[in-house]
């Protein structure tokens, strides 16, 4: 290309930029024009590693315009953003680029989009990775939608790297597609968080001809702080006292769903406009929450990592971590959401004593163990026909939620696939890749150590994060706690800490009665129990830790008995009230729960009866991983003694997990003529650790 041609091209691109920004004097940032040239003139594959807010969308909008002017088909943009930002679409329209979105929540608009694609009215088509992973969509809709695609853009492209901290199964399919895309078709991958290792991995997927364009990842004005580990009540108290004094809106990141929900309800209880956002939240709720945060209707969102990809709020002023994530890159990605368009913003890391346990849990469960994987794949290979989740559950002893997770991992590995009628073995050869599992696990351990280094470092925090991201331009930021030599203790008033303790003790949980047995057979109304209550979460900072030590010592103290009686008579107040108390028997430790139930009955001034007998010993429930096995383990293990009272009964247990024991005993009591059964337990261990 001659100098003259290069100049002409630059002028043409510049013209587009000015139209896009509606500003006659806007100029390209370093890297933008280079990326556009590589894509339009050389039809290369480009990897942009640039901080969020750098202007990646300008690159793909202008590239689209220029390619379209040269006769190319529309751009296919794969992005987890549910919809393009309205202001981005308006900007693109100023240079004649028309965008449309296809995702699961706008199905009614698809017909229109097809017609517009067919008549070449669309320049950029945005599709979510989750759509691309959908079988039916891929077979029926995509071929015509992508028919003349001229440019493929993959946003958050680091998610295709299974070495990365943020690997997403839906992206795995994009990796396969890139492999089948011939040279001469321009591809743009964008990410804000990738170190050399991830860049190398992505480069391998995108092909050797890849042109990486990397910029500095520093975030001006983001003030990083780290506090030493503190108990939950102290962190909660600090949040309640600090958040109202912070300007603007923010996010509190937690490691588990339960922690996010608890933080949200604590802050709400303290009069702060807070809401929880987790992978458990309904899709509508999540969209609504994102909207509320975007429009500043909520002060703070307590979120798990589920609030991540695709969320974009340039004026978010603080990101606080209630617990420490397991890798500096993941931390950078989350904390980097703060203050992109602000001169001043906060990134504050709190730590709990539970953090390492939770991180370890995530690392240890990221892959199925070899025997689990072989069991699942072997079963599906043997049956050949698709099996329902509950059928698989019955055969392999793996808990429902875990099994679902493992199937998804095996699906990524192309060993199994989901079809309309369940899960089936694919026709691909498969073997357990223990080398990869070991290598990725070792990498996670390394990242965990790096994170430990980050929290204890006395060097500049931002510089350290950037160097973990292999940012060659990392330098001291001058505004973090280390740069300012401004280390502080996590301070909160005794009064608020006491309130947090009371709150934790008061956050008893309700138990919904099970309505189906593990075979999904309905349990008749007249055999079900009523909704029950649990005093605490196993091992947490309220009553949970006290229950845990009581169980270990073989005796529950009077404080627990008092708290239980308070809960039942003050806050729960079941109506009609129970007229007697019984308990879940155990052969292994017959005294513990019996004694607890008797003392609670005494405190409530109700009679206690030893109404249920254990007929034979069962394996502890925690060794029985799934419903079908658990249920089989319990059924027939208990018998109700003759002539029990028929009034409503309080059924006491110490620790619940699956609720199957309570379900079975309640059903037997009801069949023996008892009017109502109210289950109660000191602690709940179920789902102790679930990430999103």
């Amino acid at each position: 290309m001659s100098n003259q041609q290069a100049e002409n091209f630059a002028a043409e691109a510049q013209h587009c930029l000015q139209a896009l920004t509606a500003n006659q004097s806007s100029a390209f940032r370093p890297g933008q024009l280079e990326a556009i040239e590589q894509l339009v003139l050389r039809r290369k594959r480009v990897l942009l590693v640039q901080r969020t807010g750098w202007g990646k969308s300008a690159v793909y909008f202008i590239t689209t315009r220029l390619l379209r002017d040269r006769g190319a088909g529309p751009t296919l943009l794969v992005s987890p953003l549910l919809a393009l930002m309205r202001n981005q679409i308006e900007a693109a329209q100023r240079m004649g680029v028309r965008a449309a979105t296809i995702n699961s929540s706008n199905q009614e608009e698809w017909e229109g989009v097809y017609a517009e694609i067919a008549s070449d009215q669309i320049d950029v088509l945005l599709i979510s990775p989750e759509r691309l992973a959908d079988r039916g969509f891929r077979a029926e809709h995509l071929p015509s939608l992508a028919q003349r695609g001229g440019l493929l853009v993959v946003d958050e492209v680091h998610c295709i790297s299974d070495w990365g901290h943020d690997f997403r199964p839906d992206y795995r399919r994009i990796k396969g597609v890139l492999d089948l895309l011939p040279q001469g078709i321009p591809v743009l991958g964008c990410t804000a968080t990738a170190n050399n290792r991830v860049v190398d991995d992505v480069a391998e997927q995108l092909g050797t001809e890849l042109v990486p364009i990397r910029g500095p990842l520093g975030r001006d004005g983001l003030q990083l702080r780290v506090f030493a580990p503190a108990p939950q009540q102290k962190r909660l108290a600090w949040l309640a006292e600090t958040i109202p004094s912070l300007p603007g809106t923010g996010i509190v990141y937690c490691l588990t769903v339960r922690d996010a929900e608890r933080v949200a309800s604590w802050l709400t209880y303290r009069g702060i406009d807070a809401v929880a956002y987790t992978g458990d939240s309904h899709n509508d709720h999540r969209l609504e929450t994102e909207q509320q945060l975007l429009s500043n209707q909520k002060k703070v969102v307590a979120a798990t990592s589920a609030l991540g990809m695709g969320f974009d709020k340039p004026d978010l002023s603080f990101v606080i971590h209630y617990q420490a994530p397991g890798s500096p890159i993941a931390y950078y990605q989350q904390v980097g959401r703060a203050g992109r368009a602000l001169t001043e913003s906060w990134g504050i890391l709190l730590q709990g004593y539970e953090d390492a346990d939770i991180q370890n849990f995530f690392i240890d469960t990221a892959f199925p163990a070899a025997d689990q994987a072989h069991k699942i794949v072997g079963l599906l290979e043997q049956t050949v026909v698709p099996l329902k989740l509950s059928d698989i559950e019955r055969e392999v002893n793996i808990r429902h939620s875990r099994l679902e997770q493992l199937l998804k991992i095996l699906e990524v590995d192309s060993a199994v696939e989901r079809v309309d009628s369940g899960w089936q073995r694919t026709l691909q050869r498969w073997s357990y890749d223990s080398q990869r599992v070991e290598a990725v696990t070792a990498l996670r351990r390394e990242e965990q150590a790096q994170m430990a280094e980050y929290v204890s470092a006395d060097q500049c925090r931002m510089e350290l994060l950037r160097s973990h991201l292999d940012d060659s331009q990392a330098h001291p930021c001058g505004i973090c706690d280390n740069c300012l030599s401004d280390q502080r203790d996590l301070a909160a008033s005794t009064h608020t800490i006491q309130a947090a303790v009371d709150f934790l003790r008061g956050t008893e949980l309700t138990m919904e009665p099970r309505k189906q047995d593990p075979d999904r057979k309905k349990i008749p109304e007249e055999q079900r129990c009523e909704p029950g209550w649990v005093l605490a979460l196993w091992g947490d900072g309220g009553w949970g830790a006290i229950v845990q030590s009581g169980k270990a010592e073989g005796h529950f103290g009077d404080d627990l008995v008092g708290a239980s009686a308070d809960l039942i008579s003050e806050r729960w107040r079941p109506d009609p009230a129970p007229t007697w108390v019984t308990h879940v028997p155990s052969l292994r430790n017959p005294g513990l729960v019996k004694d607890l139930a008797r003392r609670i009955a005494q405190k409530l001034a109700l009679p206690w009866h030893d109404a249920v007998a254990k007929v034979h010993d069962t394996q502890p429930q925690k060794f029985m991983q799934n419903s079908a096995k658990q249920y089989a383990n319990i059924e027939g293990a208990f018998a109700v003694v003759p002539d029990v009272p028929t009034g409503p009964v309080l059924l006491v247990d110490d620790v619940v997990d699956s609720r199957w024991t309570l379900t079975v005993i309640a059903s037997q009591l009801r069949r023996a003529g008892v009017e109502l059964v109210y289950p109660f337990a000191l602690a709940d261990t179920a789902g102790r650790s679930s990430r999103d």
Binding site: A139, L145, Q147, G150, R173, L180, P182, V384, S414
Partner: protein
């Protein structure tokens, strides 16, 4: 760990393969007509090094590659399908369907040699691709077969299996499935089968028995058509070619005369020399068998004769060098004369 595949952007050969798919595949082909095999093979400027055409404008295709304007525009439009095609190929790959072109290691090299310009450019296959690496023993016959004919089909398949040859057939009802099942049932002898389908490959792959046999690496199913396509008479004939071309020798167990797919397939194979044809001349034969012998098919009257025939064809294999487009220009003589020492 998933299967290797030749197709892809990793290698030059993979790029050629992708380019060949883009020009000829009927996948993702709304509004633009893919090249027929003959259109592709007749143009060495396309078929020799198709990857050179990737990313080329119509102008370059005319001026540099010497294509007529109309053809250049058509190739250009076909290449524009790259992104949609990548998604389609990945989707098939994910459900266990591989896509092969003459540039791939496992594409049966004798196709180009025997079928010349009718050789399919794109094949979709599910199962162990290694089964395509060596020609097998073809068994064909009508769908409605008597008890004796059925026994012949099964015994012939068992014999081939014990001799280490995959059974090649059409996957239809009757002789096809009897022979293929008999081969698969010879699992202790390592029996295997290759089925060239005229019917939907995707639908066939929903059958539990089929999945079982594929997972056990005993059968490979292959089609030159869209994997979601339907059966038509034209497809059945196109598929018959592949059976004859894909086998060392093909035995016609029972055929009607002057009618039916078996008859026309065998006559066509004899006429165009798609591959050596043998015909069963014993109990269970069909009304057309005698006439096929008159038309040049090698008569087989007993399993001893068949065994000798199979030993002979194995010791006198067809040339195996890859049939490149250039070779296609010089049509080599085919070793069709098979002497049976009985």
């Amino acid at each position: 760990m998933t299967d290797d595949r030749g197709l892809g952007n990793r290698s030059e050969v993979g790029q050629d393969s992708l380019a060949a798919v883009l020009m000829t595949s009927k996948l993702a082909s709304d509004g633009v007509k893919p090249l027929a095999a003959s259109e592709y093979w007749k143009r060495p400027e396309l078929a020799n090094k198709p990857s050179e055409l990737l990313g080329a404008s119509s102008q370059v295709l005319c001026n540099v590659h010497g294509l007529a304007k109309e053809m250049a525009d058509r190739i250009n439009a076909l290449m524009d399908r790259s992104i949609a095609m990548a998604f389609e190929l990945d989707r098939l790959q994910h459900s266990g369907i591989h896509t092969l072109t003459p540039f791939d290691q496992h594409y049966p090299c004798q196709f180009r040699y025997r079928l010349r310009d009718k050789a399919p450019v794109v094949l979709h296959a599910a199962g162990p691709l290694e089964l395509l690496d060596r020609p097998g023993f073809g068994v064909v016959g009508s769908r409605d077969i008597g008890v004796e004919g059925a026994e012949v089909a099964k015994s012939a398949a068992r014999l081939a299996s014990r001799m280490g040859l995959p059974v090649v057939s059409g996957g239809a009802r009757g002789v096809d499935s009897l022979a293929m099942n008999a081969a698969v049932n010879e699992h202790r002898a390592g029996g295997s089968a290759v089925g060239y389908l005229a019917d939907s490959l995707e639908r066939q792959l929903k059958q539990p028995d089929t999945r079982r046999a594929i997972l056990d690496e005993q059968i490979l199913l292959c089609t030159p058509y869209r994997p979601d396509g339907r059966f038509t008479a034209g497809r059945a004939m196109g598929r018959n070619k592949l059976i004859y071309a894909g086998a060392l020798v093909t035995l016609v167990v029972a055929s009607d005369k002057d009618t039916g797919g078996t008859w026309s397939g065998a006559v066509e194979a004899l006429k165009h020399r798609y591959g050596p044809v043998a015909v069963w001349r014993g109990p269970g034969e069909g009304p057309g068998n005698e006439h096929l012998e008159h038309l040049g098919a090698t008569p087989v009257s007993s399993f001893e004769v068949l065994e000798t025939l199979l030993i002979d064809v194995q010791s006198d294999p067809i040339p195996t060098e890859t049939a490149t487009p250039l070779e296609a220009q010089s049509q080599l003589p085919l070793p069709l004369e098979i002497s049976v020492n009985s």
